[in-house]
């Protein structure tokens, strides 16, 4: 279904304003040159569950942040109960009856359940000292717990509660604030199956009380079972909307992924050679029994949802997370890598996903950032040769078409795409046999992406083995020879890209 028909559907429905508790019309949000949401129109019927679906980065969170007043939209209107609203901050949205349940629970761990529920709006007893009316607090919380059949002790300390119980505390807070619309962002990601089932019952009861719910989840079966309506976002626009009853997992996935592979992937002529890297039954705190091989000249993609254990696999290989069992082999030799220092010495490179947190020393010169792991390789393991360093960096800068005034400029003076190129240069210079790149094109524009694709391609062509972790399926399908799919810490598929479809990959990732 196209956006056009979605729009007409919306305008038809908008004539009957009372049916919709929430309508967002033509919401547009830009961050600098990036358009995160373009003309999104989205409506939720009163007392129903509407699921918001889409790939990572499709714009779901941004849309919800506009709704909750965290972001101000650059265009568009929000109607609540048929009345237009302006939220200049989260407080406004809360007052209008919109409550958010975030992925990470935000509670004060050392306080009790009832103290958390009333935090910031404690009832006062009156009189000259304005004491907190603790008895009233406990009484009210107890009533709410009983009315909703929660399994919760109002006197318990929050730090001792399970993730599911913490969610209940958040729900109590929402109810107490008189919430009429509750947004749940991946509420089941931290819950056990039993706790999730309890949550679904609670959601049904909330619906019965006339409370409207927007539900965001990557677990598609759960979404289909729970939601009344489903709205799919892709690249910051609404691409599809329909009652959940008309959909299957397959059709939903198709709408989530459905785009053509763009032109900017370089033609791949891969002739995979012998096995360079092999992981055997890797198990850490976060991943279970992950085994795969990467051959010389091969780019292997790794797909999966956020939290599926992809970066954690890289961390296990790179010596960051301790292996509980399993082993890694490079050129057939068993590695014993206990930290990144040893991993790099062994010939493994790791371009991390978070440029600011684990990638760059932003206030240090670009050249220092490039050579940081490479002194041994540049024959300056004891004493630096500043002239040689400069020469190498200038050459790399030229090759990478890095836009810097001087390699000595601090990395913070560069744009995001050039910062990413500095990091790619680092690992290019490291000349690692096996290179892991984690979200190598995150947050950079299309042109820079194409350049980085071409570089990875050249690297593979020169006989290196590359593992590319990415949340962008088209990127994986366009760049890789094979794709590994992970879900909940396990490898669920190892597919040849030539034969795989996006739908298939999503299946293994989400279902």
């Amino acid at each position: 279904m196209s956006q056009m028909s979605q729009m007409s559907q919306m305008s038809q429905m908008s004539q009957n304003t009372t049916e919709f508790f929430l309508r967002m019309e033509g919401i547009t949000k830009r961050f600098g040159p990036v358009t995160a949401l373009s003309d999104v129109t989205f409506a939720v019927r009163r007392g129903t569950v509407c699921a918001l679906c889409g790939e990572n980065g499709a714009g779901k969170s941004t849309l919800m942040k506009v709704l909750s007043g965290v972001y101000q939209p650059d265009g568009g209107k929000i109607f609540l109960d048929g009345k237009e609203k302006h939220f200049s901050g989260p407080k406004d949205a809360l007052q209008a009856g919109i409550s958010m349940l975030y992925q990470e629970v935000e509670l004060a761990g050392h306080l009790t359940v009832y103290e958390n529920v009333f935090l910031g709006r404690e009832p006062l007893r009156g009189g000259p000292f304005q004491c907190i009316d603790t008895a009233a607090e406990i009484q009210k919380v107890r009533e709410l717990i009983e009315a909703n059949h929660f399994q919760l002790d109002p006197m318990a300390t929050v730090a001792e509660l399970s993730p599911g119980q913490c969610q209940l505390v958040e729900l109590l807070k929402a109810m107490l604030s008189g919430a009429r619309l509750i947004v749940m962002d991946e509420p089941t990601s931290a819950l056990s199956e039993g706790e999730a089932a309890t949550l679904f019952q609670i959601i049904h009861r909330l619906k019965a009380q006339g409370i409207t719910i927007i539900y965001i989840s990557h677990r598609l079966e759960e979404v289909l079972a729970l939601a009344d309506d489903i709205c799919v976002l892709r690249d910051g626009a609404v691409v599809f909307g329909a009652p959940a009853a008309e959909l299957t997992v397959d059709t939903l996935v198709k709408h989530m992924v459905g785009r053509e592979l763009s032109q900017y992937y370089p033609p791949r002529e891969s002739k995979p050679g012998e096995v360079v890297f092999e992981a055997r039954h890797l198990t850490t705190k976060h991943i279970h029994d992950v085994s795969f091989q990467v051959r010389a000249g091969e780019i292997v993609g790794m797909a999966g949802l956020v939290g599926a254990g992809r970066s954690e696999t890289a961390q296990a290989i790179f010596g960051i997370d301790a292996l509980l069992s399993g082993e890694c082999l490079l050129h057939g030799e068993k590695l014993s890598v206990r930290n990144p220092t040893e991993a790099i010495a062994a010939g493994i490179g790791f371009l991390t996903e978070d440029r600011k947190r684990t990638g760059l020393c932003t206030e240090l010169p670009c050249s220092w950032n490039i050579t940081l792991p490479n002194y041994e390789r540049l024959d300056m393991g004891k004493i630096l040769s500043l002239a040689r360093e400069r020469k190498e960096c200038l050459a790399l800068g030229k090759k990478m078409r890095l836009k810097w005034r001087d390699p000595e400029d601090p990395a913070s003076s560069l744009s995001g795409r050039n910062q990413q190129k500095v990091l790619v240069s680092r690992w290019l210079q490291a000349d690692s046999e096996f290179l892991i790149v984690d979200e190598p094109t995150r947050g950079i524009d299309v042109g820079a992406k194409a350049e980085i694709y071409a570089l990875l391609n050249d690297l593979a062509a020169s006989g290196k083995a590359i593992l590319m972790i990415s949340s962008e399926l088209p990127e994986i399908l366009g760049m890789c020879d094979r794709v590994l799919v992970m879900r909940e810490g396990r490898l669920t598929a190892d597919l040849l890209v030539a034969k795989a479809t996006a739908e298939e990959v999503m299946h293994f990732a989400a279902v």
């Binding site: 790099i344 991390t352 760059l360 020393c361 932003t362 240090l364 940081l372 393991g381």
Partner: protein, 325 residues
């Protein structure tokens, strides 16, 4: 251009202070003897400041250097006296003992070794227990001070024969100043021209990044605190030689002077920034400021106020320059 301007600010303030004193007190200030005095009195602090520069570039701090200095001075002195055949009674009683050059040399090394051990302990606690350097060294500051008082029941240890570091000279330059210069050259070289130096900056700028780029962050930190400790030991022996005795109360609030010099020299307490040249200028600025004020007859209490103001002015101007950038 901007880099040049950054170096220029501390340089020009130093130049300004020297010119000011030269103008106000030309007869006493502008003498070779006075400059020699200022440099000699800067040596001990400067040697320690060189080590502190590494620590502060990693975004750390060591508050224990003052009391560590007292303890190292006591221990080094005891070693050189014992090697010269003195009994504990003579050592503790303050008898005048003749010492051989060899004994004094080994005693100096012993002082440094004691410092290195103290620094190693600081570094090991910071990295193993994942405690803030501020907390660990706040504790060890008290411990070292206590120990230096316990060693000889709060009495000093007299080493009247240990004078070469103070009165000796190499090519007419006081030995302490020569040692200070050598330490600055060596640490400056390490900071600028070795991977060790680069790792120091990287850890201060972003320890997570450094770790992911293969820097063994914990090992580096232990080394850095150990090196500072060894330099504190060296500074302790210079100071002991100057006073002809090791005092258990030596180096009281010395950590503040040292940290002040490093910060005035352009190191950022939040890490990743600083040079050895800056630290030298910071040390000289404080010393010349004090020297000139003393010559002008300004009392010590007012000197404290002046040093405090300089610290705040230096850091503020640095901040403003960064903002402009």
């Amino acid at each position: 251009m901007n880099k040049f301007a950054k170096q220029l600010l501390p340089f020009s303030s130093l130049f300004f202070i020297i010119s000011l004193w030269a103008f106000l007190e030309p007869d006493t200030f502008l003498t070779f003897q006075n400059f020699k005095n200022v440099l000699s009195s800067t040596a001990a602090n400067g040697i320690i400041a060189a080590g502190m520069t590494f620590v502060i570039i990693t975004a750390g701090i060591d508050l224990s250097v003052g009391s560590m200095l007292a303890m190292c001075g006591m221990l080094g002195s005891i070693v050189m006296l014992a090697l010269s055949g003195a009994s504990w009674g003579q050592i503790s009683g303050g008898a005048a003992i003749a010492m051989g050059g060899w004994a004094m040399f080994v005693g100096t090394l012993a002082g440094m070794a004691a410092g290195a051990l103290c620094g190693f302990l600081n570094g090991a606690l910071i990295t193993r227990l994942k405690l803030a350097p501020f907390i660990v060294t706040l504790g060890s500051m008290s411990i070292f001070r206590g120990v230096s008082h316990i060693i000889n029941s709060s009495r000093p240890i007299s080493v009247s024969a240990y004078s070469w570091l103070d009165t000796g000279s190499i090519l007419g330059i006081p030995a302490a100043v020569v040692i200070f210069a050598l330490v600055l050259l060596a640490t400056g070289f390490v900071l600028k021209y070795t991977p060790f130096g680069r790792y120091t900056y990287a850890i201060g700028s972003n320890p997570q990044t450094a770790y992911h780029a293969g820097v063994n962050v914990d090992k580096m930190l232990v080394w850095i605190y150990t090196i500072l400790g060894a330099l504190v030991g060296l500074g302790a022996m210079v100071m002991t030689s100057r006073a002809s005795s090791a005092q258990p109360s030596a180096g009281l609030s010395l950590e503040l002077d040292v940290i002040a010099a490093v910060i005035i020299g352009g190191c950022s307490p939040s890490g990743g920034k600083g040079t050895m040249l800056g630290t030298l200028i910071g040390c000289l600025l404080i010393s010349f400021l004090r020297n000139g004020l003393t010559l002008l007859g300004v009392v010590a209490q007012i000197q404290l106020v002046a040093v405090g103001l300089i610290i705040i002015i230096a850091v503020t101007s640095d901040r403003l320059a960064a903002k402009k950038n």
